[in-house]
């Protein structure tokens, strides 16, 4: 990096907030070392850094907690890391409005802790909440089991402040829960993986904390029966806040295999919240519904099991060889899990599957234990998985895999004709292509 640029960056954010050389090791992604990591402390500083990067054509990777840093293709240029960790304040929380505004670098956990002290929460429960930043969760559209009832960022984000590629500060949405003035810019930035702008502030809808919450595990000897139970729940009067379907391997990955005579083939983990009697009634109703479908047992889980559910598939292996996210219609979930596991077995690989079954979002991990596995076999399985999902009208993307696999299997689906609109949006918002170039869908 030219000294002149480095000096300008140091002048903009303070010398202590520009890292170079050996200090960059936490920001090495897939073997690439950035030129510098810059940590602005205000929106104005973010804008100044972006304007400088834009002027000299340096690529920029926005960085929250770094929990999704390796998702996507490696960016075309190593460039700058723009870290938001110094922008981590809760700016505004008005309990009577059920809204809050935060700086993007605040961790989800810190945010939730502050909200909880006033009886409210943000109804998003992504993995790694202790490290994941609010901005990163929005940029990667991360969510967890409670998405079943409470939706994802697109249902909760009502306003966003973004610094665009040229250093402009732009607001979309607002601070009120209902708002149709102008285009819905918050939607544009959700799941855009930092390719359209740097999210610096977010305003979200909140919910009151439920009086009571409970997690119930129903184990089955056949995955198919658990799949039938998912359908039975969907057409019942139950209002669960989570419906997780785990195969045998993922049951182990979530630490739920103990205490049974032999490992179960599948488990359905269902969350309920509300007033006490609602939770009690629903637990009993769940037992009544699943009994005739072959459930082995119904037991309450400790609340500590919640954060283990999202990463259950990955958790089945010490070091998974690859993790894929597959999105299908809810009724297809159990079938795809069976087929997908069969495909892996056919190639001599182990797999683990966990799904937010009610919304049709699955995660599948491929195991490389005990011996390192040939990238060709991994790539072949992932390609087959993607094909069965596409055949049913779904989508798949590669959440993590070694570069040797990413070079053989596209990380992202081909968005088809919509991809051209996405390219035009990217060209309009980031004409010099400096924000995470090449990381996202359609080469964006």
């Amino acid at each position: 990096m030219p000294d002149a640029l480095l000096e300008k960056l140091r002048a903009a954010v303070g010398p202590a907030n520009v890292l170079i050389g050996i200090e960059l090791s936490p920001y090495v992604v897939e073997g690439r070392t950035p030129e510098a990591a810059v940590f602005p402390g205000s929106i104005e500083e973010v804008a100044a850094v972006m304007a400088m990067a834009c002027e000299v054509g340096r690529s920029v990777t926005p960085w929250g907690g770094g929990t999704a840093a390796s998702v996507g293709m490696p960016t075309a240029g190593a460039g700058l890391i723009l870290g938001l960790r110094r922008m981590a304040r809760l700016l505004d929380h008005e309990p009577g409005d059920l809204t809050a505004t935060v700086e993007a670098g605040m961790t989800v956990e810190a945010f939730q802790t502050a909200l909880r002290s006033r009886g409210q929460w943000l109804s998003l429960d992504p993995a790694d909440g202790d490290r994941a930043s609010v901005g990163g969760v929005i940029a990667t559209n991360a969510y967890g089991p409670r998405r079943h009832l409470y939706g994802s960022a697109r249902d909760l984000l009502i306003g966003v402040t973004v610094v665009t590629a040229d250093g402009s500060v732009v607001k979309g949405g607002g601070k009120v829960v209902k708002n149709v003035a102008g285009y819905d810019l918050p939607k544009l930035f959700i799941g855009s993986y930092g390719t359209l702008g740097v999210i610096v502030e977010a305003t979200v809808k909140l919910r009151p904390l439920a009086e009571h919450e409970e997690l119930v595990c129903v184990r089955f000897d056949r995955l198919k029966d658990a799949g039938a139970a998912v359908k039975a729940i969907a057409s019942s009067d139950l209002i669960p806040n989570a419906v997780e379907l785990l195969d045998g391997a993922a049951v182990g990955g979530a630490g739920l295999a103990a205490g049974a005579p032999g490992p179960p083939a599948a488990a359905l983990v269902v969350g309920f919240d509300g007033v006490r009697e609602q939770v009690d009634w629903q637990r009993a109703e769940l037992a009544r519904l699943t009994g005739p479908l072959g459930s082995r047992d119904v037991r309450q889980l400790d609340a500590a099991a919640w954060p283990r559910l999202g990463p259950a598939a990955r958790g089945a292996f010490a070091t998974p060889a690859a993790v894929m996210t597959l999105v299908v219609l809810p009724t297809q979930v159990a079938d795809i899990m069976e087929q997908g596991a069969g495909i892996a077995r056919g190639r001599g690989l182990q797999s683990a599957w966990a799904a937010h079954a009610g919304v049709g979002v699955m995660r599948a991990a491929l195991g490389s234990d005990p011996a390192p596995t040939d990238p060709g076999a991994i790539a072949a399985v992932l390609t087959d998985w993607r094909e069965i999902v596409h055949a049913g009208g779904g989508h798949a993307n590669l959440e993590s895999a070694p570069l040797a696999v990413k070079s053989q299997v596209p990380v992202w689906d081909d968005p088809g004709a919509a991809g051209r609109i996405m390219e035009r949006i990217k060209a309009q918002l980031d004409p010099r292509n400096i924000l995470n170039p090449g990381r996202f869908v359609a080469g964006i």
Partner: protein, 491 residues
């Protein structure tokens, strides 16, 4: 925009007929008049043609023809919009989707339906109702408005407090792009690939293309519903009750406020059982599991009483419940009993600012020498002041428009928005700088360029019209288009 000669117009009419069929093209000025405005009759504009396609291919071919001829075009549903959003530019083509009104597919197990844009909102709930499902967004015009129109405006309704607005219920759309290409944005699954184009499309007021198929979520009807009417002697008490209910950790399905003037009108017209002498009433609905419902209802009753409600009663039968809702939903029609005309405003504020803003609304309207009735979605802070006036009295309409602008400024000043569900359209394009900066609007314009680079698709909407806007900061006053036309002036 080009002015068509009569002979050219005839040629184009014939060509349009070869696309959509004879009997599916209007070009007679008398017939075109029906399409010269929407529910906001302040604005009028005549198209050259109105066409009635029955397929995406029809829409695509019409759009391609419009591009070739450099003619503006705009999609239209039932015309119930309240911001002039579906008005034609002077001339051009109105593409009415009213003949594309089928439910194409219902997948009950996955709780989705695929519908055409001209389907009337309520007809979807009728279709899936017998199996125990419904479509949640329920704008007050749901007996007439179409789902395509709801998409354009990201429509809400009373029950959006708990269930969200249209965008929260749309998974995918088949869209005829402004250049005529047919593209799917999103699909049937809950996540799609790449940017959330479906999310960006919803609420784009017809400026990003024309939806020809829509995948929506349908919801299971709740096991139980409870409807409570709380009556107050002071409207501030009713506002306080809204906050008290939220503070108790309750999110009702709906929480609607009806003020004194509106109660009078409703009772005159329909006799729904609202006490005539009340200053305000809150209509609160809980839904969900039958078990625990009474406990939650007790909380609601307690919160209302603590806030000073003089009476809180629960609908004992479905007939009673329907009567209370009839009062709420027919309030707009009931204003006809107390005034020759009214204009409905649409603004949003943080819930906690309700008492202050309602006082300001009343002051502003009183200062204009007019009367206002308020009936609105109190739970999400979405105000609908209805200013009553007599269009035959010179200058009254202009005073209504000016008071409306003042009210929007108050909404903006307290951190709110200038539209909660009616859209910006023509009506509020020049109010956009109240809440958006030059940079914000510039980004929106870039987004528009990505979808609609020619600008032929529904021109003149959303964005402020005067070039000078770039010199004016946010929340600065600029004359409304109507003022510039001499139809209104500020006081």
């Amino acid at each position: 925009m080009p002015t068509l000669t009569d002979s050219r117009k005839l040629e184009l009419r014939r060509e349009l007929e070869t696309i959509v069929g004879r009997g599916a093209v209007l070009s007679d000025p008398d017939e075109l008049m029906v399409y010269e405005s929407d529910g906001l009759t302040l604005f009028r504009a005549l198209a050259d043609f109105v066409v009635f396609p029955t397929s995406a291919q029809h829409v695509s071919a019409v759009v391609k023809l419009a591009n070739r001829e450099n003619l503006p075009f705009v999609a239209r549903g039932a015309g119930t919009g309240l911001s002039g959003g579906c008005l034609p530019a002077e001339g051009g083509i109105v593409i009415s989707l009213m003949r594309m009104n089928k439910v194409l597919e219902v997948d009950y197990e996955n709780q989705i339906a695929v519908v055409e844009p001209g389907l009337v909102n309520l007809h979807l709930s009728w279709k899936v109702g017998p199996r125990g499902y419904y479509y949640a967004p329920d704008p007050s015009s749901q007996q007439a408005c179409t789902i395509g129109g709801n998409i354009a405006n990201n429509s809400g309704g009373p029950h959006t407090l708990k269930y969200g607005v249209t965008t929260n219920h749309v998974l995918g759309l088949e869209v005829v792009m402004p250049d005529g290409e047919i593209v799917w944005l999103g699909g049937k699954t809950r996540e799609s690939c790449g940017y959330d184009l479906a999310g960006v499309f919803v609420g784009s007021e017809g400026t990003f293309g024309i939806a020809t198929r829509i995948v929506v979520r349908i919801l299971k009807k709740p096991q139980a519903v409870k409807t409570v009417l709380a009556v107050f002697d002071a409207i501030d008490q009713a506002s306080a009750a809204v906050s008290a209910i939220i503070a108790r950790g309750l999110v009702p399905a709906a929480m609607e406020m009806i003020d004194h003037l509106t109660i009078q009108a409703v009772e005159d017209a329909f006799n729904c059982g609202y006490p005539r002498d009340a200053d305000a009433a809150l209509l609160i609905e809980l839904d969900g599991l039958a078990v625990g419902m009474d406990v939650q209802a007790d909380h609601i009753v307690a919160a209302c009483r603590e806030s000073g409600a003089r009476e809180v009663r629960t609908a004992r039968t479905e007939a009673e419940r329907q009567l209370l809702w009839k009062g709420r939903k027919s309030a707009f029609g009931a204003y006809g009993r107390v005034s020759p005309a009214y204009m409905v405003m649409d603004g949003v504020i943080p819930r906690t600012k309700l008492p202050y803003v309602l006082r300001r609304v009343n002051e502003i309207v009183a200062a204009s020498g007019l009367r206002v009735g308020n009936v609105f979605h109190a739970g999400d802070g979405n105000l609908h002041p209805n200013i009553l006036y007599d269009p035959r009295k010179p200058g009254e309409e202009a005073r209504v428009v000016a008071a409306g602008a003042e009210i929007m400024k108050v909404c903006a000043e307290v951190g709110g928005s200038i539209s909660g569900e009616h859209g910006i359209g023509l009506e509020k394009a020049d109010f956009m700088p109240f809440i958006f900066s030059v940079a914000d609007l510039a980004l929106m314009h870039r987004l528009k360029n990505a979808f609609n680079p020619s600008g032929l698709c529904n021109p003149g909407k959303i964005f402020p019209t005067r070039k000078s806007c770039v010199e004016v900061g946010p929340v600065a006053y600029r004359p409304h288009a109507i003022e510039e036309k001499g139809l209104a002036q500020r006081f």
